[in-house]
């Protein structure tokens, strides 16, 4: 049995449709129009114990909504989900003691007090034994290198330090399932890297099942073997990271290095010219045409070196989001 099982899960919101202007605001007091927004549509997903899965998608795609459904903050419109055998939105204490949710933009610690006070409270509400509590706290502060910050009021910490403290608070009770909603948002490169490293080490050690959403490809490349792409409330892709390129990017990027002093003429006949920086030129070629066009180029020009690459991941993903949006628009039309 999978640790997380989602079947036909849908969630739609009713949002108040407000027209522009004061008069519209006044009439809105008496008669309101609502619009249904389908944040998540018919999602099916299974996650095995110990997997580290990334949710990827543009803003408003339904990633956070899915995490909220799984952590029981919101109820679905239809469908089912089981996490460790529990239905999240029943909010049973048995379930709540076994998972944690960290939201990069939300603060759970007591603002005016040192983090260790918040941890004491967590010890009580999650009923963590004294010995286990001390050992876990020791381990985590060691891994994150924050021992000296334990006694400092949270409001005096930097954003990166605070995020580390938030992570400790979420991990003290040793959750079996961890939901991370943009844990590195707003952090600088170094802090981002630290959090990534910590998450990787922690997950390797504890084999915790982790679901993560992030906008930073680096987070995902560093951490996740499996990527679930959500766009427009639906799962568009579920598989390995490199598979995204195979599935969605129909082209390769070829770098040609010409012989000294050679002036190539019209390169556009081979493909879309990305850049010319003599003696090098970058050309994007549809994947099926690569062998033929490359042969043509080699025949027409004195070429010293050839590199064939996949386009960058970000581009492949942007392409995919674009395609989803287009197909959406044509289906509406």
């Amino acid at each position: 049995m999978s640790i997380i099982e989602i079947e036909n899960l849908s969630k739609s919101y009713r949002v108040y449709k407000k027209r522009e202007g004061l008069m519209a605001s006044v009439s809105g007091l008496f008669r309101r129009e609502y619009r249904e927004v389908e944040a998540v549509r018919n999602i099916n997903l299974c996650v095995e114990e110990g997997e580290f899965v990334a949710f990827l998608g543009p803003n408003g795609a339904g990633k956070t909504t899915t995490l909220k459904l799984l952590s029981g903050v919101i109820n679905p419109t239809s469908g089912t989900a089981r996490v460790m055998g529990y239905t999240p939105w029943l909010r049973e204490n048995g379930y709540r003691r076994r998972f944690a949710l960290v939201m990069g933009q939300k603060n759970q610690l007591w603002w005016d007090l040192p983090a260790q006070e918040s941890y004491r409270l967590h010890q009580q509400i999650y009923r963590i034994e004294q010995g286990t509590f001390e050992r876990t706290l020791d381990e985590l502060t060691e891994l994150l290198d924050v021992r000296r910050l334990l006694g400092q009021p949270v409001r005096e910490l930097s954003l990166g330090e605070r995020m580390k403290m938030e992570l400790i608070a979420a991990l003290l009770h040793g959750p079996d399932v961890l939901f991370l909603d943009e844990p590195t948002i707003g952090l600088d490169v170094v802090a981002q890297h630290n959090i990534q490293q910590f998450l990787r080490q922690y997950q390797e050690q504890k084999k915790t099942t982790v679901l993560l959403t992030s906008h930073y490809m680096k987070d995902i490349v560093a951490l996740c073997q499996r990527v679930v792409v959500i766009a427009d409330g639906q799962i568009q892709y579920d598989g390995s990271l490199t598979g995204i390129i195979d599935a969605f990017s129909g082209s390769k990027v070829i770098t040609l290095q010409f012989a000294e002093g050679h002036e190539p003429g019209d390169l556009a006949q081979f493909g879309e010219v990305l850049s010319i920086n003599l003696p090098k030129a970058k050309i994007k070629i549809p994947r099926a045409d690569v062998p033929r066009r490359l042969a043509d180029a080699l025949a027409a020009h004195p070429i010293e070196d050839v590199v064939v690459e996949d386009p960058p991941l970000e581009e492949a993903i942007a392409d995919m989001f674009h395609k989803v949006r287009e197909s959406q628009q044509t289906s509406i039309a």
Binding site: K106, E117, Q124
Partner: protein, 290 residues
């Protein structure tokens, strides 16, 4: 499996566990309160200023009513009763007032901070109640001395002396229940935030009514008869008027038990109302918002 694990698995904490959680919450809230101790101490002392204006105001009112040879009364209160009344209501309000409770709950709903209480195995209302207990304890520890001093200075106004012990016990009970009524009434207003998001105007109306009808501004016996009759049926009087009336012996002894029982029923009504609203509110929140 040991006994302890069994208990943990059943999801029902033992009483000792509960006490430990409660104590931790109270202790942490206390520490938080003491972070801004300067502001806190000053705020505590400023609360004593209004009593001076009250003494001047009522001494003017009563001297204008004075007839030679008789002591003027106003709504059954003589001048010194009136001052004693204000002193006691000041004490009563130190139990029943809940600054920032309603707006705090509404803000948590609006900002989504309420999620914490859905995700973690902890109850919002219990948590807030313990936080308030801590705030009150911090307040009394700072205010006890000034209170004692002011009461000592004003001891002459308590013409009938210290009440008999059973009246005093009833008075303490009315203070404690006043705390609970104040808490759950304001919590209920805050919980309306699940439906309206913003409750500040609602709170303003409540404050206004509470100011005039709880006995905070003047004893409710000064109101016209038919209004007083209605106000006596409302729970607002337990915030200020009722404890003072008990202490000053304004409640006939044979009705004291009944009155306390009615207050207790009000406490239960508001606890049930809060529980119900919270359950409905969370359902609504998780259905529409998030």
């Amino acid at each position: 499996m040991t006994n302890n694990e069994l208990l943990a698995d059943s999801g029902l904490p033992s009483f000792a566990d509960r006490l430990r959680i409660w104590w931790t919450i109270v202790r942490i809230s206390l520490e938080e309160r003491l972070v801004y101790r300067g502001d806190f101490a000053l705020g505590t002392l400023m609360r004593f200023l209004p009593i001076i204006t009250q003494i001047f105001l009522w001494s003017a009112v009563f001297s204008s009513m004075a007839r030679p040879g008789e002591q003027p009364t106003f709504g059954g209160f003589r001048f010194h009763d009136m001052v004693a009344y204000y002193l006691i209501t000041m004490l009563a309000r130190a139990f029943s007032s809940m600054p920032g409770l309603s707006s705090g709950i509404a803000r948590q709903v609006r900002d989504g901070e309420i999620k914490k209480f859905l995700v973690q195995p902890i109850d919002l209302l219990g948590f807030l109640l313990l936080g308030r207990v801590a705030h009150k304890l911090a307040y009394y520890s700072v205010a006890a001395l000034p209170f004692a001093f002011v009461f000592f200075l004003c001891r002459g106004y308590f013409a009938d002396g210290f009440p008999p012990w059973h009246i005093f016990a009833a008075f303490v009970a009315s203070l404690l229940m006043g705390f609970l009524i104040g808490f759950f009434m304001e919590a209920a207003i805050g919980l309306i935030g699940f439906w309206f998001l913003e409750v500040s105007s609602l709170l303003f109306i409540y404050m206004l009514f509470s100011f005039f009808l709880s006995g905070h501004m003047f004893p409710i016996t000064l109101l016209p008869d038919w209004i007083e009759w209605i106000v006596q049926l409302l729970p607002l009087k337990y915030l200020a008027y009722f404890p003072a009336a008990v202490f000053l012996g304004k409640i006939p002894p044979d009705e004291l038990g009944k009155e306390l029982l009615i207050e207790f029923v009000w406490v239960l009504v508001f606890i049930v109302a809060c529980r119900w609203m919270y359950a409905r509110g969370v359902k609504r929140y998780s259905g529409f918002g998030g």
